[in-house]
Amino acid sequence: MLGNVFFKTVRDRWLGWTIATGVVWSFVLLGFAAYSGLDLSILETFPEAYQSMIGLRPGMDAGALSVAAIYGTYGSLTFAAMALAMGAASIAGEERKGTLGLLLANPKSRTHVFVSKVAALVLLIIVATLAMWAISIGTAGMMDIALGDLDVFALNVHMLASTLFYGLLAVAIGAATGNRGAASGASTGVLVVGFLGSGLLPLIEGGEKWAKLFPWYYFSGSEPLYNGIEWGHVALLAGASVVFAVVGLVGFLRRDLKGQSVGVTIIDRLRENPMTKKVADRLAGSARVSSIWLKTASEHQIVLVSACAYVFFVQLMLGPFYAALPKVAFEMLAQLPEGLEVLFAFFGGGDMSTPAGFFQIETFGMMAPIMVMLVTIAVSAGAVAGEESKRTMGLLLANPITRSRVIAEKTWTMALYAAIVGIATFAGTALGSLIAGLDMSMWNIAATCILLTLLGIAGGALALAIGSGTGRKSAAVWGATGVMVALHVLNSIGSVTDDLSFLQKLSPFYYYLGNDPLNKGMNWIHPVVLAVIAAVFIGISFPLFQRRDIRQRD
């Protein structure tokens, strides 16, 4: 009955769900590994609001902490976010891309398309939730983590209902309005406000009943991990999901399809308003197009702001979190079996008994490089190859400017953005350390962030070189990402195996954290090596682009 639209949607989306499941699982795994057998009474010293939000309870053991706080909270939020992104994309997204009209030109009704897409979403959510449950139970079993009376299955049933709720809410708004931004924006708002509201309101006297206004309450309010399935709550979420599906379908059947559109942003509205037109015009218009590098900067604002906000807040939270962890925990971690040592090596290695080592494992080892390279690779891959993929390079180069100037200006934006991510990382780390009184050296934090910036520029430079040589954006993005991942693995293997330690020095990651800069400060050779790597890739980009034909199609 469902045919091709269903399978195509599943095929387009399964990888995203697999990655999301893997990420949540890796956090749970880390939780089990890092915190098993610890006395967690210290967690009770956390602010009450924080405890309430992430589901901490007095007397909780490590297994419960991992499942409740990591899986039950971050995992559920991740799944809800995945579901609403896919839901918003399902009808409104295709409309925005301009492909929905083409799809409906086939002898398939709107109902057929809608049902197929919703069915694909529901199937993926069910499979991902079941997989999450199975691998969590399995992992706990293998690692001898006693989950005791915890009803993980009940948590998953609630998680399933909750994930469906947000997914279908986004589907409904998108299908009824055809506006993808409205669909993801409004449902994200419901998710975030609900999460905060249902977590914080019960702390206020008489607030419990107000918490019931938020959908998140019906996921976590009954504490299914301890109390089993609360069928009333599950039914409410499931019922609402069905209502959303019906509303979305009816809305979709009744309205006009929208054409391909770029959507309206807040700044566009400001430009239309005579009161704000002048300022908004300058921001969105004349300033943005005054030069190539500024235009490039404006195109990548969102990824920059997201990456900076993420690293800043994670770093800010980690300081106090570390301070709250009991010292005895780290002594045990020091005696980890060798297998786990390898695992930690992939997260950057480090001695967890010092704040620096903790930061290194938790963020600098993996998360911060991912964030900075997300930005630099996006800017660099877009610089030459992206402009060719979008077929605008011919028009750009019809102006009296050299190809080299295009590369130079866009590389400047990339380097500037890497530095901004570095500064955000520094600010978050330094502030987190100050708040928690961790007494980390500001110079060492700064040194690490400088190395991080240079590592990001080196990764971006590689993407630039691939893009300049091939004109293919996907080659630039995935080529650079693949090489950087491989080099990261090389460095990790080199760091734990003495025989292979020479391998490390082939990897730029060695010149980033190899000297343990958070503890020991900068080894001045290392930034020079990273800068040379970046300079070589940027340098070869010029002749590579200069010599070849501009691609016309992707």
Partner: protein
């Protein structure tokens, strides 16, 4: 200012084994509108992209205003306006933002003139390019090419998506450019458009220039499809003998032929033997002209 606006000498471009362009020789004087005609995939865009230094010639060279296109591309672009075929722009920018971006890269333009152009083409500059229909997007591309009053304007199928009124305005703008002593290189697959504005026409097929004629000469050679209805069954041999007639078919009282000669002579022959009941002529479409040239070329080869 005696040098040619555009000069190509043995310009050749191969993509691997595919010969996209072979030994193109053109000399276009300043002040001319040059029409570059050919079916899809003939090599029109390849020629233009080579002239713009987007792609590099396998052999031969091209120059614009006396400057080599590969050696001095930046200097050339100061004097050239360009509308690429299959125009793509930045969807998030408005038309005005887009023009401002390119104006900044050019070191400024006369905004009064931009407004005049926008008015003439009925362009919407305050909408985002991504929200415009393809015709309205094309207008932004056209303004972009004309706004700096360049000495040479190169356009690759510029009227795609434009309605007939705007097409006519564009043709008027091209004639004005030529009248000011500036040059237009117009690639097109629409003969009627080229006929209206161009002084000379180059016809390209399979990467080879197969004809270079004034529009007048081309028009006189244009083949017509002639269908004559007679009062009795037609004798094919009779019509075959008339000069300029090719490809005659007769069906009962009807005779259909491709004709490229003096119509009077044809009618005289018909009236000698028959009464003409009805006659219709249809100007041959471009493809037939190509075919004619192509067949000629093959015959002489």
């Amino acid at each position: 200012m005696s040098e040619a606006a555009i000069l190509t000498e043995g310009l050749t471009k191969h993509y691997g084994k595919v010969e996209a362009l072979v030994d193109l020789n053109l000399e276009i004087p300043q002040g001319e509108v040059f029409g570059f005609l050919g079916p899809n995939g003939a090599g029109k865009t390849t020629t233009i992209r080579t002239m713009m230094d987007e792609i590099r010639a396998t052999a031969g060279r091209a120059s614009i205003l006396g400057m080599d296109t590969h050696a001095e591309p930046v200097e050339i672009r100061k004097h050239v306006g360009y509308v690429p075929g299959d125009l793509a722009m930045y969807p998030n920018l408005t038309g005005r933002d887009t023009l401002m971006y390119f104006a900044n890269l050019r070191g400024g333009v006369d905004w009064g003139y931009v407004d005049t152009l926008a008015e003439r083409l009925d362009a919407q500059l305050d909408k985002k390019v991504g929200d415009l229909s393809s015709g309205n997007r094309q207008k932004v591309g056209l303004i972009q090419a004309f706004m700096s009053k360049p000495e040479v304007i190169i356009m690759d199928e510029p009227s795609s998506g434009l309605d007939p009124l705007v097409q006519r305005e564009l043709q008027k703008m091209m004639r004005e450019v030529a009248a000011e002593g500036r040059t237009v290189f117009l690639s097109s697959h629409t003969l009627s458009e080229v006929q209206r504005v161009a002084h000379r026409v180059g016809i390209i097929r399979h990467g080879r220039l197969i004809a270079l004629e004034t529009v007048q000469a081309l028009r006189s050679k244009a083949m017509r499809q002639v269908e004559i209805e007679l009062d009795k069954p037609a004798d094919v041999e009779l019509f075959k003998a008339v000069e300029g007639v090719t490809d005659v078919r007769a069906q009962n009282h009807h005779v259909v032929m491709t004709f490229g000669g003096d119509m009077g002579a044809l009618l005289k022959v018909a009236e000698g033997r028959y009464n003409i009941v009805d006659i219709s002529t249809q100007s041959a479409d471009l493809e037939e002209i190509f075919l004619t040239y192509y067949q000629d070329e093959e015959a002489s080869a």
